[in-house]
Structures are given as C-alpha cells and as structure tokens.
C-alpha cells in the first residue's frame, strides 16, 4: 500500500492557494450535504445513500484537472463530491436522494447518482460494478473517430478492479491508445471484503504495466497531488498518447451504505485511525499553515455550508414525487415498450 504521510503538497502555479480555498469550500459543502442525506435516511426519507466522506479531496481535485465543457465522466455510486465539483446544486443532489419529480439524473427512476447529468457529460447507467469501464472505452473510441480531443474519465473502486470488464476495458484501451483515464478510488474495502482478499499484488496501479500504459499511485487526501496526477493523465490523453491508470488511496469514513454496519468487519482501531486521514481536516490544516485560511474564515465556510444545506433540504422536502403516469415514458423511442 501507498505510505500515507499526511503531508499534503503545497499550492502550485497550476493550483493556486485561492483556488484551493474554493475547492475546500466545495468539499465542506459536499460533506454537510452527505451528512444530511444520512440523517434523511434515518428519518425514513432517503431510501439509500452511499457516502463520499473521505473521498472528497480526490474527487474534487480530479475534476479540477478536466474540462467539463467537453470531457466525459463515467461515475460510480460514490461520486458525491465529484458531482458537486461539476456544479450539481445541493437541491439537485437531494432530489435524487429523496426521489423527487425533478431529479435531474433519472427522474427518480434510479438510485441517487445514477442516470445522466443535465449539463455536463456525466453519466452512470447502472449499479453493476465495472460495467462502466468498457463503456468508457467506447466513449473514448468515438472521440478518436470524430477527431475530438475530449478525454473520458471513468471512476471505479478497488472492488471493481476484480471484475473481468475492468481487464477487458484496459486491455482494449491499451491496444488503441484511447484517450481515457481509469481512476480508481481505493478505500481498501469492497463492502466488507478487504483489499488483501481482492488482489494478490500490491496495488491496482501496478496492473497498468500489463496493458502497456502508466499506472500512478497517489495519496487521495492530497488535493494538489491528485490534481497533478490527473492533469498529467489528461494531457497525455489529449495528446493522443493513450490511457493512464490512477489509483488514489482514500478512506471510506462511513460504512458502505446506509444499509451497512462496518463494525461487523472493521476493528475499532482501524475505524478510529481513519479520522487522521479525513481530507477536509488535512486540507484545512494545510490552508491554515500557509496562511490561506483563518479560523474565522473556516468557521464561516462551515456555517455557510450548513445554511445552504438547510435551505436545500427545506425546498426539496416539500417537492412532489413524480406522478405514476411518467413511469411509462422513455422506454424506447417508438416501439418495444409493450410486449
């Protein structure tokens, strides 16, 4: 495993201190909203949630290195902060979790974070692990045929690295040097099964050698490091030099979903140690060490996020569910809906 130093990189020319503070705000907002969704689950209002708590730095930093005006994002169910980084509003997020009529991703047909985004090319067709990887290779292939320099970035967890689709997609992307970034958020657990039982090698990234393209390991709590790694992969893909596999090591601070209990399979010590790798805490401390954030300003960011989440909750809680008749829409264009 990657050694975790908890010594995050300093701001760079490409990622200024001012911009770092803005990304921090996004992370904090994502965290408050994520916490709210779990509360709504316990109130019986949100049927299911998978948390991004612990993954925020990775997701926000990775998106920062891409171009939402043309790039493609194939996400999986834990990309809460990535969606926020791409401009999804708290109301839009909550409409998915509360299955409300105006859920922008799927009209409340699917679980939260599934469907297609209304403004950027972000989508997530299914709950079935790793199916998005061959699809991402197809999206990238289409761009090469069209002569577009768009980059496709596909996210997956360490559990997905065991699927055959993952191998098939990386193999094909290597053959054709496709402009695709395989981005693994390795939190060491596939629900309850630890990484030692998923793979016999040290890292997911090391497998890239078998496909003929670079594999990079990065500390997923380090915003600047994740940004740099992703930026390099994006530039490589845009230049036509092919794929990159990035493996960001992160912590899953909460159980797999609201239906899981990680005390059944993680030790108390393991759970307690995770708090040291909370990316919000790490970035907050860095910003303060570098005089980019005061305690007062930090408190204001937290207060603003909490208020924003409260407003969104009140708004969306009062919104209607979709009517029954809309469930017959969009099966196929013209035929095939009824047997």
């Amino acid at each position: 495993m990657l050694t975790t130093t908890n010594k995050p990189s300093d701001p760079t020319e490409q990622l200024s201190g001012t911009r770092l503070v803005e990304l921090y705000q996004t992370m904090v907002l994502s965290r408050y909203l994520d916490e709210r969704v779990w509360l709504l689950n316990r109130q019986g209002k949100a049927a299911i949630a998978a948390s991004a708590q612990g993954h925020e730095a990775t997701q926000v930093a990775c998106i920062e290195a891409t171009d939402p005006s043309k790039d493609h994002y194939l996400i999986y169910y834990r990309q809460f902060a990535a969606m926020m980084a791409l401009g999804t509003t708290p109301e839009e997020m909550l409409r998915g979790f509360l299955a409300k009529e105006d859920d922008p991703m799927s009209g409340a047909r699917q679980f939260p974070l599934h469907g297609a985004h209304p403004r950027v090319d972000l989508f997530n067709f299914s709950n079935v692990i790793a199916t998005q990887l061959p699809q991402a290779a197809g999206v990238a292939l289409a761009d090469t045929l069209k002569g577009s320099d768009a980059v496709t970035i596909v996210f997956f967890g360490d559990g997905a690295s065991s699927q055959g689709d993952t191998h098939e997609a990386m193999n094909f992307a290597g053959v054709h040097k496709l402009p695709v970034i395989f981005f693994c958020e390795n939190n060491r657990y596939a629900i309850s099964v630890p990484i030692e039982k998923q793979m016999g090698v040290e890292s997911v990234a090391s497998r890239a050698a078998g496909y003929g393209f670079p594999g990079v390991q990065v500390d997923g709590t380090d915003v600047v490091a994740v940004h740099e790694a992703t930026k390099a992969a994006v530039e490589r893909a845009r230049a036509g030099d092919g794929p990159t596999l990035i493996e960001a090591s992160v912590e899953r601070l909460l159980p797999h979903t609201t239906d899981d209990d990680h005390t059944r399979y993680r030790s108390a010590e393991d759970i307690a140690q995770m708090a040291n790798r909370d990316p919000i805490k790490i970035l907050s401390e860095l910003l303060k060490r570098r005089d980019l954030l005061t305690d007062d300003a930090d408190a204001e960011i937290h207060a603003a996020a909490k208020k924003r989440v409260n407003v969104a909750t009140d708004t969306v809680d009062a919104e209607p569910y979709p009517s029954v008749d809309t469930m017959f829409d969009h099966v196929v264009d013209s035929v095939g809906g009824n047997f």
Binding site: S126, P134, G138
Partner: protein, 327 residues
C-alpha cells in the same frame, strides 16, 4: 432487383448503411481482414478502413460495452457476436445496461446500437454453435429483437435496426445464410420493427413461426396443400415487440393455431404467442393452441442422427398440421 442469399443481403446492407452514414461502424471478432467467420463483413475493411471496421479482442462483454459507449457518444455501432452461443458474457452489457439507457436517464441518453447475432442449429454445431438465445432478449423491456428469415427481410430489418435510436438485437439464423435465396430490390427500404408478415395465405389453420422454421413451415404447408389442408404461415419477423394484432387476426380467421419454433418450448416465444391467442381469440378457436418444438434438452447434439431427431423438420410440422386438422 437481384437474387441474393441472406448473407449477401446482410453484407450489402452493412455496406450501404456505412456509405449512407459515417457514424456507422462495425466491430466484432474477425470482422476485419477475415470478413467475419460467415463473411458478413467481407470487403468492408477495404472500403471503410480499420477505423470503421474494428477487429476486437476476443471478449464479448467488451464488444458490447464498447458499442454501447460509442453509441452514447454519437456513433451507430453494429456489433457482431460471432456465434449466439458466445453472447452470454455480454448479457450484462446488453440486458443489464443497453436496454435501460433511455429509461434510466429519463430520455437524456439513447443507445443507437445494433447487435447482430448468428443463432440456431441444423448445422452440425453441437451444444456451442447451435443455440437459440432469443428469449432472454425478447423478455427485456428496452430492447427490440428482430429475426429476419429471408434476404428481403434481412435487408429491411437490418437497415431499420441501424437507423433506430435504441438498441436492436438482430438474430440471423445461420442455416438460412446460404440456404435461403430471394429477390432483393436495389433501392433503399426499411421494414418497421414489430410487424409480422403473412408469408403464405391460407384458410384452415395458422402457423406462427420465425427464423429457419419459417422455411420448414412453408414446405410443410405445401405438402399439406396436396392433402387438401390450406395452411396460413405467419412470419413473426420481430420477437420484441410481438405483433399481437397480426397473430390474433390470423388465428381468429383460421380458427386453429400451430406455433413452430426451433427453441425449446418451455417459457419461450411460443409460450407468449400461445398466451396472446388464448387471451384474444378464445371464442374464435375450434382446436387447441398447439406448439411444436424440440425436446427439452440442451440444444443440440453433435451426432447427425441425434441432431436431426432434435430439430423440427418439414415432416414433423406436417404431422402436427395433420393432427390439428383432424380435431
């Protein structure tokens, strides 16, 4: 107008669709220089190049997953699964994923992809080059499934499939590829999905069938005519959605229905056709809804004698016609 085999019609249609629309690409195993194991893509790589005729790694889930990804990003991929028996690894990408793209994104994304699948037996293919796999796809909302059995229908339905903005499974019976010939107009045309066709009009009973069994049923109908039994043969052509109106109209008019299929009968296309006739034609029937299919065995033995015993044949169909006519 020219006389073509089914495989010639498929190849010519792929070529004309690729000429007509730059976004049409072909991908599959051995589709490039080899031209496909059945030669459905013969010569396409010479005209369109390896960017549009893509020899894929030997991985069916990848083929269909890549087709899906390309389809949601502006292409109209035509994937070839080499034999239907090999499609199982790709079921996840087809039944699980492609079928739900439009529905699961509330209409934001569509997947205009075609998957051509040679299926069926009677070719000494044994257990793994003979299977009929239509039921899994025809059970799936969000997919359309066509099974053309003549060169004319192969052209019209393949063109429709490629131009449709949703996933279409095109089942081509491999025994028909070179066995069946027919006139195909030179000009462009399409055949709507969901429309069956009466291939032989008759008054005494209706055979509902598709694929290779269409041709066996037509032969059996001619033999029955010599015995004074006038059999109508309805070719389903589309397996999802089934043309319930055409099925019910014909069965009600003739009063007797025999459903012939090569796939094993339990929980199959013939089950659904029988249900449609039962629900819609009950008071018009003067005989039991009858089904003819192979025995409930894994399709199908390699031994020539056992294969012949497994497959429905014109003679077996004639026997079923005769029995039903006597009721």
């Amino acid at each position: 107008m020219s006389e073509q085999t089914v495989i010639e019609a498929v190849r010519a249609t792929l070529q004309s669709e690729m000429r007509r629309d730059d976004t049409v690409i072909v991908l599959g195993e051995d589709v490039g220089s080899r031209g496909g194991v059945f030669l459905a893509t013969d010569g396409l790589i010479d005209e369109f190049g390896e960017n549009r005729v893509i020899d894929m790694p030997l991985a069916e889930s990848l083929i269909c997953g890549v087709a899906l990804g390309a389809a949601v990003n502006g292409m109209r991929p035509v994937a070839e699964i080499q034999f239907a028996d090999f499609v199982w690894p790709a079921i996840n990408q087809l039944v699980g994923e492609a079928s739900k793209v439009r529905y699961g994104t509330n209409g934001v994304k569509t997947a205009p992809m075609t998957v051509r699948i040679p299926y069926g037996g009677g070719v000494r293919g044994g257990l793994y080059h003979s299977q009929s796999i239509e039921v899994l796809f025809s059970h799936t909302p969000g997919l359309s499934v066509v099974a053309p059995a003549t060169p004319y229908d192969a052209k019209g339905l393949l063109a429709t499939a490629i131009r449709t903005d949703d996933p279409v499974i095109v089942l081509e019976h491999k025994r028909t590829y070179r066995l069946v010939k027919g006139d195909v107009p030179d000009e462009d045309y399409t055949i709507p999905i969901g429309k069956a066709e009466i291939k032989r009009p008759g008054t005494d009973m209706t055979i509902v069938t598709y694929g290779l069994m269409l041709h066996y049923s037509l032969q059996a109908a001619e033999m029955a005519a010599a015995n004074g039994i006038d059999v109508e043969v309805l070719d389903l052509r589309t397996l999802r959605p089934l043309d319930a109106d055409a099925i019910a109209e014909s069965a009600s008019r003739t009063g007797k229905a025999l459903i012939v299929q090569e796939d094993t009968p339990a929980v199959s296309i013939s089950s659904e056709v029988a249900a449609i006739i039962g629900e819609r034609c009950f008071f018009d029937l003067d005989g039991p809804i009858t089904r003819l299919g192979p025995p409930e065995l894994p399709p199908m033995p390699f031994s020539p004698i056992q294969e012949a015993a497994f497959m429905p044949s014109p003679e077996k169909i004639l026997a079923a016609i005769t029995k039903l006519s006597e009721i």
